[in-house]
Symmetry: C2
Subunit: 161 residues, 2 copies
Amino acid sequence: MGKDTLELNENELLWGRLFLATTLVQRAREVELSRVNISLIQAMVLYALKISPEPLTPSRLAKMLCREPHSMSALIDRMEKQGLIQKKHDLSPKNLVRVVVTAKGEEAFQRQRSVSAVTNITSSLTREERETLGSCADKLRLTAKELIRQMQPDPYDESLF
Amino acid sequence: MGKDTLELNENELLWGRLFLATTLVQRAREVELSRVNISLIQAMVLYALKISPEPLTPSRLAKMLCREPHSMSALIDRMEKQGLIQKKHDLSPKNLVRVVVTAKGEEAFQRQRSVSAVTNITSSLTREERETLGSCADKLRLTAKELIRQMQPDPYDESLF
């Protein structure tokens, strides 16, 4: 069962290359973040809360970061216990929960920004490559979102990502 | 604490876009694979074993897929129990273990290939975009590998990925 029986097409081969690159880059970010005691997903929750122009509920966060609602809910509880975020009940309707970054979370966010070799990894590319990479990423994100919607109609319905 | 205090540079913003796209695409692949009862990491182990021109040991697989040796070892044990792969002791030196795909694993590999909307996701891009995307992915993979080597000198030393 060698390579010759595989007959992977051009897109499938590219998929493999993208997957390996992604895995390595995420791993590098995890290693980098471990030096400031923050996990990748925690950093992304803080990032999402910081960049969002509107209040984020747990279910919105779950959609943005592609987590099951129950797993995002557990993550939020853990981060709240660590004092990084807080759940507020000041939205209307009252049963909506808004997640906000605390002062300690803000400090953690700045700490993760202080290790930034991986978040600046694209600085080794040319400007033109960065532009193409960014627009490909956006296209693939939208295509993936559409594919998920087709396969799993409910949970990803009206998300903003 | 609005957007204005963030001052993310161009690369950090691109990092965020890449991370979100990657997360969505991987999630789409997980959803797709769930319909044929295979996990993403299992599919990638089978893929790595299939495309590798040389025998793969558990530690080589761990390096290729960026897993800790103990977690790869547990994954291999589970996949062996499920009959998808087998550990062979026919390398020299004798204590080296070679992981091979079984007939049942081959069948699972073909099954995951039968759901291929996500592995063909780049077909929505132009040929030029695909070429740039592929070469950016390769560059970022090598840069990430180098960053990991700098931060964590030992475990990723002589890997082939």
